[in-house]
């Protein structure tokens, strides 16, 4: 084992180079807008761009909606399955894992066809309903890890005992859910919220195919038309991703399994 240590260092070194180089290069590239000197001019351009502000705000609001409605959808389901309907567990787990199996592009293809303007549920006919559809598609994207994080969280707090304790004190089920269960799931929910945000904020395929003014398509547009701004945007996105994961790591410290690990 002692002889193998330099091999380990070598593997680490090669991988570090591979993973660090694109980040460093991107950062360096993003500073080169002004000829002959390093500057944050590309970042200034990005932040001043009204489309950046609009699309970023749009994606932020949408991801917030995704988190709220996704949580409202998943928590009661996971709670109910664990407490009352354990028979349904395999079905529910299968459905929550479907988005990992069916590629996103296939799902959105289906949406475009089913919910077009001539269908029974013409969600793509108005922009507000298309926004809703995109939100729903983001919920499906987040479903696998959201469900797992919350299900694991529920298992660790022993819902059954908590519920029975609350019932014996005369609590009704909405107050059990909002007063007892949700507060105990804070870490699980916040972790999955940040993971959802990191995933949704730069999402391209769905937003682009549903033709919404989201941050992902904006990134692509800038990539096709500008030289240095894309790098600045990549750095910004990376910092956002890193920030979200940092929060999750901090929250998950001392708990078994992180959210991202259980998502796959």
């Amino acid at each position: 084992m002692r002889r193998a240590r330099w091999v380990s260092w070598l593997i680490m070194a090669i991988c570090t180079v591979y993973f660090a180089t694109p980040l460093l290069c991107t950062f360096e590239f993003s500073l080169r807008l002004k000829r002959g000197e390093y500057s944050f001019a590309a970042y200034e351009n990005v932040f001043k761009d009204s489309r950046f502000q609009e699309t970023f705000l749009y994606s932020t609001v949408l991801s917030a909606a995704t988190i709220v409605f996704g949580t409202l959808l998943v928590v009661p389901t996971a709670y109910w399955v664990q407490l009352r309907l354990p028979r349904l567990r395999p079905v529910v787990e299968f459905l929550t894992l479907m988005p990992l199996v069916i590629p996103a592009i296939i799902l959105v293809f289906g949406y475009v066809r089913i919910y077009n303007s001539s269908s029974i549920l013409p969600m793509t006919s108005a922009s507000w309903s298309t926004d809703m559809l995109l939100g729903c598609s983001y919920i499906t994207l987040a479903l696998p890890y959201m469900y797992r994080a919350i299900d694991t969280g529920l298992q660790s707090i022993d819902v059954k005992t908590l519920t029975e304790a609350a019932e014996s004190l005369g609590a009704k089920w909405p107050s059990i859910l909002f007063g007892v269960i949700l507060p105990n799931l804070r870490v699980a929910i916040v972790s999955s919220a940040f993971l959802t945000f990191a995933t949704v904020i730069g999402e391209f395929t769905m937003a682009s195919l549903l033709d919404r003014p989201a941050f992902g398509p904006y990134l692509q547009l800038i990539g096709a038309s500008r030289a240095y701004e894309p790098s600045a945007l990549a750095v910004i996105t990376f910092l956002i991703t890193w920030g979200c994961m940092g929060v999750i790591q901090l929250l998950g410290r001392g708990r078994r399994g992180s959210v991202s690990a259980s998502a796959y």
Partner: protein, 299 residues
Amino acid sequence: MTPLPAETVPPSRSLAAPAAPISFAWLGVAPFFVFAVLFLVLPTLHLVVGAFQDADGNFTLRNLANLFQPQIVASFWVTIKISMISAVGGAVIGFLLAYAGVMGGLPRWVRPVLMTFSGVAPNFAGIPLAFAFLATLGRTGLVTALLFSVFGFKLYDTGFSITTFWGLILAYLYFQIPLMVLILVPALDGLKKEWREASDILGGNGWHFWRHVAIPILWPSLVGTTLLLFANAFGAVATAYGLTGSGINLVTIMLFAQIRGDVLHDQNLGYAISLGMVVITVLSNLAYIVLRARTRRFQ
């Protein structure tokens, strides 16, 4: 909308009480099932059914037959190749990295750093990852420039381009390797120290241990995870689109163009392509699940 049966029950307590727990319990999961049917099951079914229909809705196998035209076969093939190479490459490198980080005798701080990074990197896929690789190995990328100014090496004279086959694989590895590490580290943790010691004391060396004990135990999760990486690469769109536009004829890119503007001039052929993709990802995921179940037995 027809009212739900539960609502038709008169609010007489004595009558409702015995039935209530059941209908009430189902009510709790109803929103989820409605959502799942609307946004997971129906869209998939629609495409699958559409793959077997002609433009007028009659049953046909012509769409599936049309899949075998050279352009589509070629795009499936190149997508499979890229997914396979990036999956196997990601698995092998990821395995070495996980091994080095967990069992390689490195200082303690290495492991949490590795795990944290592996949690972040897979989420850094898509358009921003494409930008990063363009800034690094694109025609004007920093590494490309450095190779020329330091070594006089013209990378693009070798036929390499970040926007082609190998360039795309190089970019895909950026999320494939960490994903492998993320899944494999728990599996490596499952290798008990005592197994190694038992092998040693019975006269075995490192090779014996890995050949007869560790690899056979890890095999299902190694192969299974590789399949998962394959499915992961196979369904990816954004990284390739951001990197190459439509430069590489990937199935996903083709489908992307088809959804946007019916470039194939055949709606149902688009469904057939979707069906083909679903079949491939479902098969590799099924294999993953089967192998996963076999590993569990050991632990």
